[in-house]
């Protein structure tokens, strides 16, 4: 499972970074989204991967760590709002500058 999770995080972040380096705002926003998915998964994994255990200290020998779950939830909410803002800003840039290049002008 560790390898699978690591591969998924790597794939998401890799695609995210690739798209982030593109010159069009649409790809950049997609890249930011993919990158934040990868990082959310990574944050989730920082509490170690545990399956089928309650996130409370009890009789269970290895409980799931509840803190990363809380962190991920916060990160998802913030990431969602930021993505919405980035999309609106891209649309506004398209409207005001007349194109969707990140520098505001066609090379």
């Amino acid at each position: 499972m560790e390898i699978l999770i690591a591969l998924i995080i790597g794939l998401l972040s890799g695609c995210g970074v690739y798209l982030l380096l593109q010159a069009r705002t649409f790809s950049v926003v997609l890249g930011l989204t993919l990158l934040s998915y990868g990082i959310n998964l990574f944050l989730f994994a920082t509490g170690r991967l545990v399956i089928g255990q309650p996130p409370v200290l009890s009789a269970v020998s290895s409980p799931a760590d509840p803190l990363p779950q809380a962190l991920v939830l916060t990160a998802i909410v913030i990431g969602f709002a930021m993505t919405a803002f980035a999309i609106m800003l891209s649309l506004r840039a398209q409207a005001e500058l007349g194109n969707d290049h990140v520098d505001g002008e066609q090379p």
Binding site: L32, G47, T74, M82, L89, G104
Partner: protein, 503 residues
């Protein structure tokens, strides 16, 4: 009251004011302005009160919901946090007064966003754990995105797009770093982390080190340190003047975070990770100085000149932070000075833009500048202050920084870049004001309206300059305070004790 609930008051106040302002109808502009200014004045009062409370060396620790450390969320106010809280509150008040000249009417929610921005800035200074630092960074960033774009326009949107995308990437890296540190140490509380760092075994050490250095990258992006400064000049010079002035504190938040992490989490007690940032600070600082000076010399507009001078001051501060107790003390004295001076220069540029609607703040003369004496005089004083010339506090601070770092390279860089700043400012002032009495260099086309400097612009700039005067006159007590501050943050044991109690 102030000892029990002090740390949370500077957070609740702007948040409450912002929420209140949201309910006011659009036509209640007078009330909106009065409430917003009143909130900022009270914030300054709170800053003073907190500063007085912690001046003896106590740390105020506020446990939200009274959860025990290190599990609950902590707010901690020590000398460093109080000093920066007061600086940001004073700056915000001056920027807000300037905005009353009309900048706040360019869009609907200016005052709400402004208060939220103060909320985020104050939160970043008082938070006691890494994840809440991230959250407050996001609060201040999303307000800053909206404020930056306030009023709209093509160039502003383009600069804003770069700023937003880079900072979203920065937030992603921040999360990555926080995750790495959590996975290696199992905590996010600064004080707890400082305790845990020493006991890490080798398998976790690499993760913690990576996390720590990634954090440095994020803070360097916020502070505009050399390779990550590229967003700064465009963003600061394209936005409206009061916002650029308020943003003068934003780079200092990155520097504050670097200082906090390097003295507390990766401080003297961190075992093999002690002084993780120290080898990076001086080289980065010198490169930042270089690029700031080069940019200032090449700038063709006053706003851009001021933005590069901000980068220059970031380089100076970072140099100071690499200089041990004496350096940090001098740096902390230089910090409010450089913030106020840069802000006053941005406000001058804004006033110039209003008076010259066609050519704006370009470094070009214009025959009939209204009130040349006031404009030229304030520019002259602001330029003297920011370049660190003798009568002002910047001179004392730079002298002490030089004294703390007696190295040829540092002296050479600081003195050369200061000279470059003086040349750039003298040239700028010459081109704008002295040549103004000569023949016109531009056709008068489209210049039908001559706007007179507004009633609110002069007191705002004068306020910032008066603050610099006070800082100069009170150099003795202020330096004593910053020296105490430097000593306090370089001995993290007290902080850890105050936050975690006996254990």
């Amino acid at each position: 009251m102030i000892t029990a609930h002090g740390p949370i008051l500077p957070l609740i106040l702007p948040l409450a004011v912002a929420i209140l302002l949201l309910f006011l109808p659009r036509r209640a502009q007078r009330l909106t302005r009065m409430l917003s200014v009143a909130g900022s004045v009270v914030q300054v009062g709170l800053g003073l009160l907190l500063l007085r409370t912690v001046a003896e060396g106590t740390q105020l620790v506020y446990r939200l919901g009274d959860w025990p450390a290190p599990y609950g969320i902590m707010l901690v106010v020590d000398r460093l946090a109080a000093w920066l809280l007061l600086t940001s509150a004073l700056l915000a008040l001056c920027a807000l007064i300037y905005a009353l000249a009309g900048g706040d009417r360019e869009g609907r929610y200016f005052h709400v966003l402004f208060q939220m921005q103060i909320f985020g800035i104050s939160g970043a200074f008082v938070t006691g754990d890494l994840f809440n630092l991230f959250v407050f960074f996001e609060v201040l960033l999303i307000s800053s995105y909206s404020l930056l774009l306030h009023g709209g326009g093509g160039p502003r949107t383009r600069a804003g797009l770069h700023y937003v995308i880079l900072n979203l990437l920065g937030s992603a890296i921040f999360l990555l770093a926080a995750g790495l540190i959590y996975s290696s140490c199992g905590s996010l509380n600064f004080a707890h982390l400082a305790q845990l760092m020493a006991g890490l075994d080798d398998s976790q050490l690499a993760l913690a080190r990576t996390g720590g250095l990634l954090l440095l990258v994020v803070f360097a992006l916020k502070a505009g340190i050399m390779p990550l400064h590229l967003w700064l000049p465009a963003a600061y010079s394209e936005t409206s003047a009061p916002i650029a002035a308020l943003f003068a504190i934003m780079t200092k938040i990155g520097l504050y975070a670097i200082l906090r992490m390097s003295t507390l989490v990766f401080g003297s007690s961190a075992g093999s990770l002690a002084d993780l940032y120290l080898p990076w600070l001086l080289p980065l600082a010198l490169l930042t100085l270089l690029i700031g000076a080069a940019g200032a010399l090449a700038a063709a507009r006053l706003g851009r000149l001021a933005a590069y001078l901000i980068i220059l001051s970031v380089g100076t501060l970072l140099t100071a932070f690499a200089g041990g107790t004496g350096g940090i003390a001098a740096g902390l004295y230089y910090l409010p000075h450089s913030t106020f001076a840069a802000a006053s220069l941005f406000l001058c540029a804004g006033a110039l833009r209003r008076c010259r609607p066609v050519i704006g703040d370009q470094l070009i003369a214009d025959g009939d500048l209204p009130q040349p004496l006031i404009m030229g005089g304030t520019f002259f004083l602001a330029a003297m202050a920011i370049s660190g010339l003798p009568p002002f506090s910047g001179f004392i601070a730079k002298l002490l920084i030089l004294k703390a770092l007696p190295q040829v390279l540092v002296w050479g860089m600081i003195l050369t870049t200061a000279l470059a700043a003086v040349i750039a400012l003298a040239r700028g002032g010459n081109q704008i004001f002295l040549a103004a009495s000569g023949p016109m260099t531009l056709p008068r086309g489209g210049k039908s309206v001559v706007l007179v400097t507004s009633l609110w612009e002069v007191p705002a700039i004068a306020g910032l300059l008066i603050l610099i005067f006070i800082l100069t006159l009170a150099a003795g007590p202020a330096l004593e305070f910053t020296q105490d501050t430097a000593r306090q943050i370089l001995e993290p044991a007290n902080y850890i004790q105050a936050v975690l109690g006996g254990g």
